[in-house]
Amino acid sequence: MDNILEINGIHTYIGQFHILEGVSVTVRRNAITVMLGRNGAGKTTTLKSILGLTPPREGTVTYNGKEIQGRRAYDIASLGIGYVPEHRAIFRNLSVMENLKIAERKKGDLESKSEFIFGLFPDLKRLYRLPGNHLSGGQQQMLAVARALVADNQLLLIDEPSEGLAPILIEQMMEAIRILSAATTVLLVEQNFVMASKLAEHYYILDDGRTVHEGKMADLVEDKELIHQFLGTALHKGGRS
């Protein structure tokens, strides 16, 4: 199986609102795939639909050859899917150590992974005992990524890791994602086009709850018109930072 994840024409509702109206994304194993699109295009909802946090009403989500839509979120996550939500949603009332510890799925997970995690984010070692709300924005984002690395995950869903970070931290985050993607498949959501284009091999563009384009990142970088049509603002934002 080359594809670790296949999303096929999913429709997701939040309350009365029809948010996703046919999203199809395929994630190839051991590569970085990125979802691009304007604010409100449905990227976050797609990640949540994979995890069952907002379960799709139609369509299929196939993970490692098994259909997983309709299962409970904890059950899906336990299959080896790690999630880094947008807006650095760490547990602010828990210490850094507890934020990592809680992500263990079996005893000793954290112990065996801590060297790798501290290698990626050396700051966290120093901050280990502090409560999450004492961390700066960048440190919280690193903690959110680190938390998804504690358990043995085969697939990471990472939602806008560069959001609100200073340029130097974006560099560090990029480097970290590059390193961790050597061992884990990554489905990335990113508004920062420069970062996305440097990291990802494949892209999908979402617009208004639909997948509207897909292909190899190398081709997209050439296609200024397409970029402008769907990502106009995002490109400029990314370009400047």
Binding site: L51, L53, G70, R71, R72, A73, Y74, D75, A77, S78, Y83, P85, A89, F91, R92, N93, L94, E98, K101, I102, A103, R105, L130, P131, R147, A151
Partner: protein, 496 residues
């Protein structure tokens, strides 16, 4: 690092400091004896408030459920603990029936696998479900009809007249030849209810093999337990009644708490869980449940007020000179700093402090506590980490109900045991939760301490200046208003 500690715990330090300052002022103006007496009563009430409020705050913080049946759990704890202490026949007689019902209920995943492929129209599915569920309830009624352990008001009266004979209250039970059909019917009722909840014909359901295997194992063990409980149903109560009174009392504390926890789990799974998508209905369901349970208790024991006797170790005549002397004398009262105070109330204070410590350890040093604290802030993310949050909900509901029930049985020896005994505690506990901050157990501890003391000192002042005792009751609301003005989320509120 030390500075960090003070900054992080500023609220705690300020509130405790304030209490200390007020305490010193009180000591000086009131004089030692009235002050100590009032403070100790305040601590006693505060300890009980804490036991009710801690569960309430955790349940609300984690699950967003305002549990209006929490005071009822307090009341049930008192009744069931008291029954275990004086007339365990009731509990032991009911036990096989409950076990049998449970054994039937837990077969749900097995039945789901068996019946989900039945070919029935969607409309017929609904009808079948309702019909089967109603039959199940009818069978339960059949099973308990004429159960002779239910004449409880009568036996309780007998007991007060024949003190000294420990077996006086133990009511007679049906011989096994008559009794055996009851657990069997209960098991059938459980199967019927499980069938209804398995939604026969609904093919959209997923059944995991592991769930089915577990269901077989649990059903089997419950059936074995049912048989054991049925056989020892008559001999066990008498054996318990011949135990030493103190042992029986501590066992009653445990039994009361366990009954509360078991009931809490049953309530969460059957009534609260299906309604997480309709939060308002949950409130209504807990209100209705409180009503139904209270009426049930009235039917069983009549709407009377009972007094539970204190265990021997708190009831020997005379006054112990100090706490140490009490250990050998086991007297009714103890001299604390010149004040004669009932030893049992000191025990309640100790129990409250132990509960604060135990809950603190659980919340701060166990994985469950870590998950609860994280879930209070963001339960979706907890679930996304692969943790079954629903199961944590059940555990927390169990824990909360168990603590409230423990408070109830603890209070039973010094407040009248009657159907509405939990109401006042529930109201005060809600105020404690608001003061302490929804979802914060340390907030519940501080809030309970504050309210308990306010209550006691309010009573003292009202008596001294011959004001209306309503002042004491109003004082708690005034404290709540002040706290909310300064801190709208409560003292330790973190929820946004």
């Amino acid at each position: 690092m030390r500075q960090g500690f003070f900054r992080r715990n500023a609220t705690m330090v300020i509130v405790l400091g304030l209490i200390a300052v007020l305490g010193v002022i009180g000591w000086i103006t009131m004089g030692q004896q009235p002050f100590v007496r009032t403070a100790l009563s305040g601590l006693t009430i505060g300890a009980l408030y804490f036991m009710v409020a801690s569960g309430l705050t955790l349940i609300f913080g984690l699950m967003d459920v305002l549990n209006f049946a929490h005071g009822t759990m307090f009341m049930l704890g008192a009744y069931l603990g008291w029954q275990f202490y004086t007339n365990p026949t009731f509990l032991f007689g009911l036990f096989p029936l409950v076990l049998a019902l449970l054994a039937g209920l837990v077969t749900s995943p097995i039945l789901r696998g068996a019946f989900m492929h039945l070919k029935v129209s969607e409309k017929a599915q609904k009808t079948i479900q309702t019909a089967v569920a109603l039959t199940g309830i009818a069978v339960i009624v059949l099973a308990v009809r004429g159960l002779d352990i239910l004449g409880l008001a009568k036996t309780a009266m007998v007991a007060t007249m024949t003190m000294g004979n420990p077996l006086a209250e133990a009511s007679a039970q049906e011989p096994l030849a008559l009794f055996w059909f009851r657990p069997v019917l209960m098991f059938i009722a459980g199967l019927l209810l499980a069938t209804a909840s398995a939604r026969p014909g609904d093919q959209t359901q997923v059944v995991y093999a592991s769930d089915k295997r577990r269901a077989w194992i649990i059903t089997g063990s419950l059936l074995v337990l049912t048989v054991i409980a049925t056989v020892f149903r008559e001999s066990a109560p008498n054996a318990v009644l011949l135990w030493n009174g103190n042992l029986r009392f501590f066992a009653a504390l445990v039994v009361g708490a366990l009954c509360g926890a078991g009931l809490g789990a049953a309530v969460e799974v059957s009534l609260i869980r299906p309604l997480y998508i309709r939060p308002l209905y949950q409130v209504i369901v807990t209100l209705g449940l409180a009503y139904v349970l209270r009426e049930t208790i009235q039917v069983l024991w009549d709407p009377l007020a009972y007094q539970m006797t204190r265990p021997p170790m708190f009831s020997q005549p005379g006054k112990a000179e100090n706490i140490l002397a009490w250990f050998s004398g086991q007297n009714l009262t103890v001299d604390v700093l010149g004040v004669t105070f009932p030893s049992y109330r000191l025990f309640i204070i100790v129990l409250g402090v132990l509960m604060v410590i135990a809950l603190g350890l659980l919340m701060n040093y166990s994985r469950l506590g870590m998950i609860i604290r994280a879930g209070v802030q963001d339960r979706t993310m907890v679930e996304a980490l692969g943790i079954n949050v629903r199961r944590v909900f059940t555990i927390v509901f169990m824990l909360g109900a168990g603590l409230a029930a423990l408070g109830g049985i603890g209070a039973a020896p010094f407040i009248p045991v009657q159907p509405n005994m939990g109401d006042a505690f529930q109201l005060q506990a809600f105020i404690v939760v608001v003061i302490g901050g929804m979802g914060s157990y340390s907030g519940a501890a501080i809030g309970a301490l504050l309210l308990g003391l306010a209550r006691a000192f309010g009573d003292y002042l009202a008596l001294k200046y011959s004001l209306s005792p309503a002042i004491a009751e109003a004082s708690t609301v005034i404290i709540m208003a002040i706290v909310l003005l300064v801190r709208p989320a409560g003292l330790f509120g973190k929820k946004e």
